[in-house]
């Protein structure tokens, strides 16, 4: 197996062994899904139409903003970084491994929600699965991009927690997944548009690949990639 693929495999296993990642990638999103899914589907039967999308957006936001950055802080703010450099392990591979590992974990978590919502709560399955999965994948990648930026720019775990919550909480409150964004004041709707959760929810609830819903996610992904590249360059020069 080539070094990069082996690194992804190792990172995937490390994420499972890491309590923080296990909680943010699986335990909390799935418990929240079971709890809120039960409430939503019983008191608001109409919510079954978007239960999968809202729970996926919640779970992915939690995993990407609170889980994905932590292993990066572990590497880039400690002597692990030096150990990797002298061992010939390029720093970009750490980011790639973490991104792809997180993508696999969050996709699995989203799949569990999709199947669970359909079987347990009778939620409506997406009409066009390929469109749904494509939009979901783009949303996951864009969210991981933001999480990676948080991980590479946080000087320690304390500040990471603060920064992550500053992105996660507004994503959930203003993203339209708990209640329709149209009920929010226009100023808060505008603020909500900054976060990928808003566009992830729109993109996954649209049954066709609507570029108007996807381009904000593409821009988010592009900006994250540029920011990450700059940070990696700074690390390589430090």
């Amino acid at each position: 197996m080539n070094a990069l693929l082996f690194g992804i495999w190792i990172q995937w296993k490390l994420d499972l062994r890491n309590r923080n990642n296990l909680l943010t990638y699986y335990a909390v999103p799935l418990l929240f899904f079971l709890f809120m899914g039960g409430i939503f589907s019983s008191i608001l039967p109409d919510s079954k139409a978007t239960l999968i999308q809202s729970m996926v957006v919640f779970g992915v936001s939690m995993g990407a903003f609170l889980g994905t950055p932590a292993p990066l802080v572990d590497v880039f703010t400690t002597e692990i970084k030096k150990a990797y450099i002298i061992g010939g392990i390029p720093l970009w591979s750490v980011v790639v491994n973490n991104t792809l590992s997180a993508f696999i974990h969050l996709s699995l978590m989203a799949l569990i929600i999709l199947l669970g919502a359909a079987f347990i709560f009778g939620a409506t399955l997406p009409e066009n699965p390929s469109t749904f999965f494509a939009a979901q994948s783009l949303f996951i990648l864009a969210s991981i991009g933001v999480g990676t930026v948080l991980g590479l720019y946080s000087p320690d775990h304390t500040k990471l927690t603060l920064l992550s919550q500053m992105v996660f909480l507004p994503s959930i409150m203003l993203g339209g997944i708990m209640f329709p964004a149209s009920l929010l004041p226009s100023a808060l709707q505008t603020v909500g548009n900054v976060f990928p959760a808003t566009w992830g929810f729109i993109a996954t609830t649209t049954n066709s690949l609507d570029f108007n819903g996807l381009y904000p996610l593409l821009i988010c992904l592009f900006l994250s990639a540029i920011t990450v590249a700059i940070r990696l360059y700074q690390h390589s020069r430090a």
Binding site: M1, N2, A3, F6, G7, I10, K13, L14, R17, N18, P71, D74, V75, T78, E79, I80, K82, A83, I85, I86, G87, G88, I89, P90, S93
Partner: protein
């Protein structure tokens, strides 16, 4: 043929110059030790050579591939020993199993996660990682810190074996006994430059000539100047003299006591330790 050539290396942190115009050469196949008190700049020099740290001026030439064991290295807490070795080996395009040498004895804890390893086991793992790719030059920063006696002996055996196989080893250490037994040459750093550089034997030979006489007598023997020794201080009930001519100094002091009708209650001779010599050189108290 040199393995490492350093010319006019200078490095500063803010306005503090920790290395000042340092030049030295390390020959192929030798074990070279950098010594110095904490903060003397040993790790900074090693990290400049290893390419982990930038420097203000100077030129460093390295003749061969390098392997590095850092002083404060760490790995992800949940990675196992086997996974770490395999990961590093894959990036270095080297077979992962050749580094599990008998003396490092990694097999006994190869399934353990990094966070649950003892300090000594972590040291052994980092040494094994530094050997991946069969490097020509090995940098070992405090290689045996935290390792038990048995492990230390095994590691010394491994280091000698590596030297015998033609590798150049550069190490930083606080352990004088380790340095004396392992190293061909040593350099003692003081305030950014070398206060001593030479064969470990040179320092030891100097020590043979540096002795202390502890004499317990009921009169002061240091009132008159001594021809062959130098009065240092009183220590408990003893008057302490330093000399490089032991027999002459001893005869002179005993003769002086006899003439003063003093009773000599005890005489002790102490060879200056390598540690003391190191402290003297590194702090310029000699």
């Amino acid at each position: 043929m040199f393995a490492i050539n350093v010319e006019s290396l200078s490095k500063r942190y803010s306005d503090d110059w920790v290395i000042k115009d340092l030049s030295f050469e390390i020959e192929r196949g030798e074990i070279f030790a950098l010594l110095g008190v904490n903060g003397a700049g040993k790790t900074t020099i090693l990290e400049c050579i290893e390419g982990l740290r930038s420097y203000e001026t100077g030129h460093i030439a390295i003749n061969g591939t390098i392997g590095v064991q850092l002083q404060s290295s760490t790995l992800p807490p949940h990675i196992t020993v086997t996974e770490a070795i395999t990961l590093f080996s894959k990036w270095r395009k080297s077979p992962p199993d050749i580094h599990d040498t008998a003396s490092l004895d990694l097999s006994s804890f190869r399934k353990k996660q990094y966070a649950s390893l003892s300090v000594g086991q972590k040291r052994k793992l980092h040494l094994a990682l530094s050997l991946i790719g069969d490097p020509d030059i090995l940098f070992l920063d405090e290689p045996t810190a935290g390792i038990d006696v048995e492990g230390r002996i095994a590691l010394h055996r491994e280091i000698r074996k590596l030297r015998d196989s033609g590798k150049t080893i550069v190490m930083a250490s606080h352990d004088m006994a380790e340095v004396e037994s392992l190293c061909d040459r040593i350099a003692i750093l003081r305030e950014g430059h070398f206060a001593f550089m030479g064969a470990a034997n040179d320092l030891t030979t100097e020590l043979q000539q540096d002795k202390k006489i502890f004499i317990k007598a009921n009169v002061d023997l240091h009132q008159l100047p001594c021809l062959h020794c130098r009065y240092i201080a009183n220590f408990q009930d003893y008057q302490v003299f330093q000399t490089s001519h032991l027999s002459d100094a001893l005869l002179e002091l005993l003769d002086r006591a006899q003439k003063a009708h003093s009773l000599v209650l005890d005489v002790r001779i102490e060879h200056a330790s390598l540690e003391q010599r190191f402290i003297d050189v590194s702090r310029d108290t000699h």
